[in-house]
Symmetry: C2
DNA sequence: CGCCCCCGATGACAAATGTCATCGGCCCCC
DNA sequence: GGGGGCCGATGACATTTGTCATCGGGGGCG
């Protein structure tokens, strides 16, 4: 049996290197490429055609782990993808699964566990951390309509209504209506807490 | 020469374990204890009396890396402390330095580099990542008064003025005045962006 | 001591925001 | 064809928030 070829993508050199070292201890796994960004991960994947891509969810600058997974599904269907993340937001899990990701684990797992999961994913199985799965289920589906979510995103940095309206190419009144509706659905008393709640639930 | 005894504290098992494995490769370093939380780190430090404590800045629940460093300075003056962090906010660096931390590095450094820095810190030197240092200098000192910063923290989750006033035991008018002053100093157009800016600069 | 700054508060006013009702257009689906 | 939902907008209104002037008290400092 030939070893599983793994691509590692994580912006934190410390973690990436350490991870590579630990996975190297497993003699049925071989890290064939490392990347420090989403863009780099894509390039590496094209060049090395790994069996499994282990992607950090949040990477600076370009595409995040889920975006990379989406691209990989199209470009390299033979490559299974999995996401590793520090903060497990429920919505991220959903996004990831619909991007064809087959493994989703928090960084709190041990290296042994990760190695097992890589093998499972490579074998075609799926693995989702039970706790994250429970969170995602309890968080449920987003009650927000497309525009509500969109406007909420524009509101994310605390911008005033006028600016949101401009960026969304909408009337200020319309923006206020959407924000009001979104806040009501989320049980928030103003748009700022609404943004926070939506972020926590992974709905933006 | 006897090996440097290191305490590792990081909530992410994956990183902690991997780090321990990498540092173990350096034959003048020995990881004598690992901790997954601030509280645990303190307990471990008391029990094992390490030469150097490598602390993650953000840990869930209890005390963060800086708080641990503060406690360690009092309880275990012989133990040098250093902070490792993912997101390098300028203010954190300042807080850390005034807590007696002697090393401050982002997780983007390599393990070799980290090992060198641990040795430097153990030898009594200080090390601060140049990029983070530059950010901290350019961010400058907080222009906020104590109460302004305090009120801004209460405003951090988007709560309405009434709630902030209650939590801060202040009049609503006073709260509005402080928030207005803080927003003006930060160049923000409302308290929510003020909160965001203050966070970015590490002033809250 | 006088000066300055911070604290905490009040009042008044303007501006931004939240809330609600209502409209027309569109699309999907029964 | 007729709901029903989402989209986008408007108007009116109440509430919240931001802004400013002002006051009194207290502590530090030349």
């Amino acid at each position: 049996m030939t070893a599983v070829r793994v691509l590692l993508a994580d912006d934190e050199h410390l973690i990436r290197g350490a991870l590579a070292a630990l996975l190297a201890l497993e003699d049925d796994l071989v890290v064939v490429a490392e990347a420090a960004s989403g863009a780099e991960a894509l390039a590496m994947a094209r060049a090395h055609r790994p069996d499994v891509a282990v992607l950090d969810l949040q990477m600076p600058g370009g595409p995040d782990g889920v975006k990379v997974a989406t691209s990989l599904r199209d470009e390299l269907p033979s490559c299974r993808t999995m996401i590793v993340t520090s903060h497990g937001r429920p919505g991220h899990l959903k996004r990831a699964l619909s991007a064809g990701v087959r493994g989703f684990v928090p960084k709190t797992v041990s290296a042994q566990r990760l190695a097992e999961i890589i093998r499972a994913v490579h074998a075609g199985n799926r693995y989702v951390d039970p706790e994250l799965a429970a969170d995602a289920i309890s968080a449920g589906d987003s009650p927000l309509t497309a525009r509500e979510a969109e406007v909420l995103e524009f509101a994310a940095d605390g911008a005033p209504i006028a600016e949101i309206a401009e960026r969304a190419s909408l009337s200020q009144g319309t923006v206020r209506n959407y924000l009001s509706a979104a806040a009501a659905k989320l049980g928030a008393e103003n748009r700022h807490t609404a943004v926070r709640l939506a972020r926590e639930r992974g709905w933006v």
